[in-house]
Amino acid sequence: MSYVQVVNIDKSFQGRQVLKGIELEIEKGEFVTLLGPSGCGKTTLLRIVAGLERGDGGKVIVNGREIIEGQNKKEQNIGMVFQSYALFPNMTAFENIAFGLKIKKIPTQDIRKQVEEIMDILSISGKENNYPHQMSGGQQQRVALARALVVKPDLLLLDEPLSAVDAKVRESARILIRDVQKKMGITTIFVTHDQLEALVMSDRIVVINAGEVMQYGTPEEIYRRPANKFVAQFIGTYNFLPSSLVGIGDKETEICIRPEHILLVSKDQFPQIGNAEGIKLYGTLENFYILGNTARAEVLVQGRTIIVDHLNRFEGPKFALKEEVGLLIDKKVCTILGR
């Protein structure tokens, strides 16, 4: 039996179905991300797991205990970090973090010890007596995390906790959350609409769209082998090509290829490289621009634009616009999408 089981959850709001028969199993110690566009139902699912919302059907079991909405959550032992952090404005950082322990009637000196320990782990020691409004966004976020972690929850729920901080803080926070989660071995469900965040942090990702699970797998699987066109379109950039163009699959299917899996070569070199297994296409270079550490070329092949990415090396190949170029594609990087 899995540590967390989500069984056939349905949910409607005012006649609109937001979750349709969601099934999910999460193992102990796993970091699972619910990823999807806004309004896909991921937050609602998280809130049902938290017991803050009631599903129309189905059930949620955490560590062998069914989660019931409206029940006193003392027994439930689920930690949650809210999008707005929901720090208690009238309490200092210390009081915020200690709150859950106080409710559990833990002796005062133990509370002090545990709070100091978690504040040390999250590098917010010294902020004990600061009120939320006296802290930066990043610090508030850590206090919220500490408040949820200090009670050693069976399950930690994170509702887009990184969306309110700026890019720099977000990047370091990703790694911090991930590290602490691994160190403490706390089973975690993380909600985000940011694919990069999901790929970086998760053991497994649940891609959700319109209230349905699109794919459930490791970041590797999700990125390399999208189960359907939605996942392919949602994560990263993909070229979608008709099977006739590349010559694999049957007429009904569509082939998708990552831009970085295509090799851009000059026309003269083209005949000499690649093996017989490779697919070779000719096209004209329509556009070329630099994204940073990668560079992107748009190549027009038989009336279709194919995007090709390559590392932006110091001495990379130089092409002129409208030049005829060759594209080399290995067959094994092609994903065939069913209709």
Binding site: L52, S84, L87, K104, H133, M135, G137, Q140
Partner: protein, 270 residues
């Protein structure tokens, strides 16, 4: 440039117009003799001494304080918890507050008094001419102010998220209200209470029509005084205005503190 000067003249005139009666009242209250000169001929605090040593004044003030404080405390006890519950559990009941606080605009004191006199002068609940009817009607009178001020302070905190955060940490519903919600809206509640008290200190219509001489409030005392002793009444008006001034200053201070905190939070979060 020309426009700036015209604007400042207009402002100056309006402020002079608004403050002339106030300043004159204050000066008159400390004037020994003041009739044919621009400024008083001499100054004295004797009217205040006389006023504050008058037992009738003391009693009237005490009555007004009793009734206003009782009403405001009652109103806080009733409105704050139910508004919290409406926001978190019964969002549809929020409409109720809106309706209840817009009705008094259609029913100013005179109209309300007509209804109350007819309802409570006979029958099982004869409470006209007692302070009880004042407490009841004052409750309705200050409802819009209480609602507006507390709604604003509920708005500045994320009530629902705070409740859920407390719940997730195992906090019970009553405990959440007492430990988390109430301390965070306290400042708004204090503002609401101050506004309400200053409204009630100036209330005359209901007091005059519903209880009159049977429970002489400060405003009724002032009304009577005005015919007997102008200087004493004037000292009372001046004191009343100073109380209002004090309350306004506290309100400004409260608002200012909240603003700097909110501002601090925003810039820090960036």
């Amino acid at each position: 440039m020309k426009r700036g000067i015209i604007s400042k003249i207009v402002l100056g005139l309006i402020f002079a117009y608004l403050f002339f009666p106030i300043v004159a009242t204050l000066l008159f209250s400390v004037a020994t003799r003041w009739s044919t000169t621009i400024l008083p001929e001499g100054y004295t605090l004797s009217y205040y001494k006389l006023l504050f040593s008058s037992p009738e004044f003391g009693h009237a003030l005490l009555r007004t304080i009793n009734v206003s404080f009782a009403t405001v405390i009652l109103s806080i006890l009733i409105i704050i918890p139910s508004m919290y519950l409406a926001i978190v559990y019964y969002p549809r009941l929020e409409k109720l507050f809106e309706i209840l606080s817009i009705l008094p605009f259609a029913m100013p004191g005179v109209i309300l008094a007509i209804g109350l006199i007819q309802m409570y002068s006979r029958g099982p609940l004869q409470i006209t001419n007692t302070p009880w009817i004042l407490i009841g009607s004052y409750f309705v009178l200050i409802l819009p102010f209480m609602y507006q001020a507390t709604k604003n302070s509920f708005r500045t905190i994320n009530v629902k998220a705070l409740t859920e955060a407390a719940m997730m940490l195992g906090c019970g519903k009553l405990e959440t209200f007492i430990k988390i919600i109430f301390p965070n809206v306290l400042r708004g509640v204090i503002s609401a209470a101050l506004i309400s008290v200053s409204v009630l200190f100036g209330e005359f219509v209901l007091a005059n029509l519903l209880v009159g001489d049977n429970y002489e409030t400060i405003q009724i005392y002032l009304y009577k005084m005005q015919k007997v002793d102008g200087h004493l009444a004037n000292a009372l008006v001046a004191s009343y205005f100073m109380v209002i001034l004090l309350m306004s200053l506290i309100l400004i201070w409260l608002a200012f503190r909240r603003e700097t905190e909110v501002r601090g939070q925003k810039t820090e979060a960036r």
